[in-house]
């Protein structure tokens, strides 16, 4: 049983390393780039420059530095994804744990509401809101992503909480007379942490492409601010002649999603033992 798990373990480590690298690069973006992400260097002479020593990842149609836009774009994309995950995880945990602890009818009410929301495709829900409210600032966009993404977490938390509530230590706490609030914070939540870590990583992996998708459609982060989705949108006019403007953002998105998924499944395996 040594071969396969070790290579999976390696995948998880590479995933964690990749995410850390992207996070650090996003944080250190001002020091790692020579040009501001929105500066048009010389729209006539420097547009569509292929990768070179001066512009590592080339320039786009407005002569902006792609390396700089990619790094600053990571700030928007990762930031939105992180905030969205925080929101969805908090909401999901609250709803799920409440459903597990509360009387039967509240449980039924909450879980049926969750099911109903799950039945609406998330992208459709997002498009409806954005279409109604117009394009959003970064923070409201993140909140919106979080508010439409908590249902799966709620389901998982409800399931795991019900299982945990029947374990001897939670039953013991209940028999001692521990009230629900304290039961939740002191006994249940710490036992839920593994589940939440998996849910968070998986939610992150889902939020990154969603942001990119919305931005690509022009409904996410407003141009000329960079985000990975915007980079793709900018590249759309001539993807084949100027491969560098589409390949690098695509690699960044795909790599991040893969890394987060690898990490999620590794965490799940570790804690399921």
């Amino acid at each position: 049983m040594n071969g396969a798990p070790r290579s999976r373990e390696l995948g998880a480590r590479l995933g964690a390393a990749f995410l850390a690298l992207v996070g650090l690069a996003a944080l250190a973006a001002p020091w790692l780039t020579a040009h501001a992400p929105t500066t048009q260097l010389d729209p006539v002479a420097l547009a569509w420059q292929p990768p070179s020593a001066a512009h590592w990842l080339g320039t786009d149609s407005y002569s902006r530095d792609v390396w700089s836009r990619l790094l600053f774009g990571a700030r928007a994309t990762m930031g939105i994804a992180l905030l969205a995950v925080t929101v969805s995880l908090t909401l999901g945990t609250l709803v799920g744990a409440l459903a597990a602890l509360a009387p039967r009818w509240i449980d039924t009410l909450l879980m049926r509401a969750t099911d109903a929301l799950l039945a609406i495709p998330r992208l459709l829900l997002l498009l409806l809101v954005v279409a109604g409210a117009g394009t959003l600032e970064v923070a409201p966009l993140a909140l919106l992503l979080g508010a439409t993404g908590w249902m799966t977490t709620a389901r998982v938390v409800r399931q795991e909480s019900s299982r945990l509530l029947a374990t001897p230590h939670l039953e013991g706490a209940r028999a001692l007379g521990v009230p629900s609030g304290r039961l939740l914070t002191r006994h249940l939540l710490p036992s839920l942490l593994p589940t939440l870590a998996v849910a968070a990583t998986a939610a992150f992996a889902a939020a990154v492409p969603l942001e990119s998708g919305l931005s690509y459609l022009g409904l996410g982060v407003r141009t000329p601010l960079p985000s990975w989705g915007n980079l793709l949108a900018d590249a759309e006019s001539q993807p084949l002649a100027h491969w560098w403007v589409i390949v690098f953002p695509t690699l960044a998105i795909a790599g991040t999603v893969l890394a987060a998924n690898a990490l999620a499944s590794a965490l799940e395996r570790r804690w399921r033992r």
Partner: protein
């Protein structure tokens, strides 16, 4: 088949730890005649289980037998078997029953199917396996074999699971059966009937039995020879004269006398009993998606009794008789199907929310596996202080101070207070559970098998501690156990539960 050869020959078996070089078994040599019953006794750590694993060829990879070690099953040299050759031996000619039956059964497979699978793995047809399984179930005193075969392991009591494993082990009429503490978890009555059935089967099939146990009484009643192990060696080898199969238990304790005088006083003062249980019925229903019906299992069937203030009442009964269901019903952890439970004059079923939580202060519980009932990430002192905090008895540092005093009262060393449950031994965890239950100064303590997981010495210590605390605090205790001697040590009255119904009450 093997003529006059002994069924099992062990010669100079030495097992070492590959890493540390420690010797776990040191030149063990013995022979077992065909059909003999050999007991192997010794304290924990003496090497009994390592010996069993070595015989089965199941030593963990960190351990290895030396080259001089030879093991013979009839004329088969076990020490020279390749892994694929083991498959024809293990489970057919040489079988083993472990201490924890739940770990040895597949939770997602009906027990009948598991036994049949074991039969087919060694060349029996499905019909033959099923026939033999049903026959063995019946002979091992399992009720309603056909229905039982369709149940899943978790639906059976511990004793039933153990017998299912025994049936699996005896299916092919093995040459040698190794039973490692296989009947330790069974109550005495059941243990005797299972061992009787096993003896009969064994004689018929000519199986040699290696009975590993820390219970000297069981081993000497069942075996014609006893090997005593200590520190990885055989230090004693004695043959036993045949004896009566039901060892006498004698108990003498002053606790019952004290308890009954307290009870008499209570009666004199005309107090209502602390607990009144009337016509209690507990059913478990299980909906089936396949068959359009729900299966109802009646765990408790019309039980009535009272417990007076300061009285210790025992409840004994065979495995699966509904003892734990009674405890859980009293504690409002399981729904009551019919009947009433009153704590003094309060109908427990009428309580909701805050009132229910406040009642829990007066009614405390030591669950069956007390160690598992302690939240693993919290410190012991915090766990004990919790009862004080949630019932507003004491807060913060005062609660912790009182918790440490309680831990001292139940005889735990000072270091235990800041430890986490998994850093303590089973016996210590049992004491933590006791301190936690006593923290709220309850009126009634429900103890579900408080000593079942402990070795005899610790068992006595915990029972003595319970008795002392009971006297000091004038506690009422409802003591559930399959171990009659444990109950009789403390209880002034003993109720017997037999498949959900009450047998005659007995006075110790």
């Amino acid at each position: 088949m093997s003529g006059s050869l002994p069924a099992l020959r062990v010669h100079e078996l030495t097992v070492r730890d590959r890493v540390t070089g420690a010797t776990l078994l040191d030149q063990i040599s013995f022979e077992a005649k065909r059909g003999a019953a050999i007991g192997i006794v010794g304290d924990s750590g003496a090497g009994k289980s390592t010996l069993a694993l070595a015989l089965m060829g199941l030593l963990p990879s960190a351990l290895e037998g030396t080259r001089e070690s030879t093991l013979w099953l009839g004329e088969t040299a076990l020490h020279a078997l390749a892994p694929n050759e083991w498959r024809t031996v293990r489970g057919r000619r040489l079988t083993m029953v472990f201490q924890e039956p739940l770990l040895a059964l597949d939770p997602a497979m009906r027990v009948g199917a598991q036994v049949i699978e074991a039969g087919m793995a060694h060349g029996l047809s499905h019909a033959e396996s099923e026939q033999r399984a049903m026959d063995l179930f019946a002979r091992l005193a399992l009720p309603d074999p056909a229905r039982l075969a369709r149940r899943y392991p978790h639906e059976l009591s511990g004793g039933m699971r153990q017998r299912v494993l025994l049936a699996m082990a005896m299916l092919h009429g093995p040459e040698v059966l190794i039973a490692d503490e296989a009947t330790t978890a069974l109550d005495p009555a059941l243990r005797h009937s299972v061992l009787d059935a096993l003896d009969a089967l064994r004689r018929e099939m000519g199986t040699t039995l290696l009975l590993i146990s820390h219970d000297h009484a069981v081993v000497s009643a069942r075996c014609d020879r006893i090997l005593t192990m200590a520190g990885g060696r055989i230090v004693g080898d004695a043959s036993v004269a045949p004896r009566s199969t039901s060892p006498q238990t004698t108990t003498s304790s002053s606790a019952p006398a004290l308890a009954s005088s307290a009870r008499a006083e209570a009666r004199d003062r005309g107090q209502t009993p602390i607990l009144t249980v009337r016509d209690l019925v507990v059913d478990y229903t299980q909906a089936s998606f396949v068959h359009d019906a729900t299966a109802v299992t009646r765990a408790v069937d019309g039980l009535s009794f009272t417990i007076d203030r300061g009285e210790v009442v025992g409840l004994i009964g065979p495995s699966g008789s509904g003892k734990t269901s009674v405890a859980r019903a009293i504690l409002r952890l399981t729904a009551v199907t019919r009947g009433t439970i009153h704590l003094e004059s309060t109908d427990l079923a009428s309580l909701r929310g805050r009132a229910l939580r406040q009642m829990r202060r007066r009614l405390q519980w030591i669950p069956q596996d007390a160690g598992a009932a302690l939240t693993p990430h919290l410190r012991v002192e915090a766990l004990v202080a919790e009862g004080l905090e949630v019932h507003g008895i004491a807060r913060g540092t005062e609660a912790l101070r009182r918790a440490r005093a309680l831990l001292e009262e139940v005889g735990l060393p000072a270091r235990a207070a800041s430890a986490r449950p998994n850093e303590l031994s089973t016996g210590e965890r049992q004491r933590v559970a006791l301190a936690r239950a006593l923290a709220t100064n309850p009126d009634l303590l429900v103890c579900d098998e408080p000593v079942a997981n402990l070795d005899p010495a610790r068992r006595t210590q915990i029972l003595d501690l319970l008795a002392a605390l009971q006297r000091a605090r004038d506690l009422s205790i409802f003591l559930i156990s399959h171990d009659e001697s444990a109950v009789e040590r403390l209880a002034s009255r003993v109720l017997t539960l037999y498949f959900g119904q009450r047998g005659a009450p007995t006075a110790p």
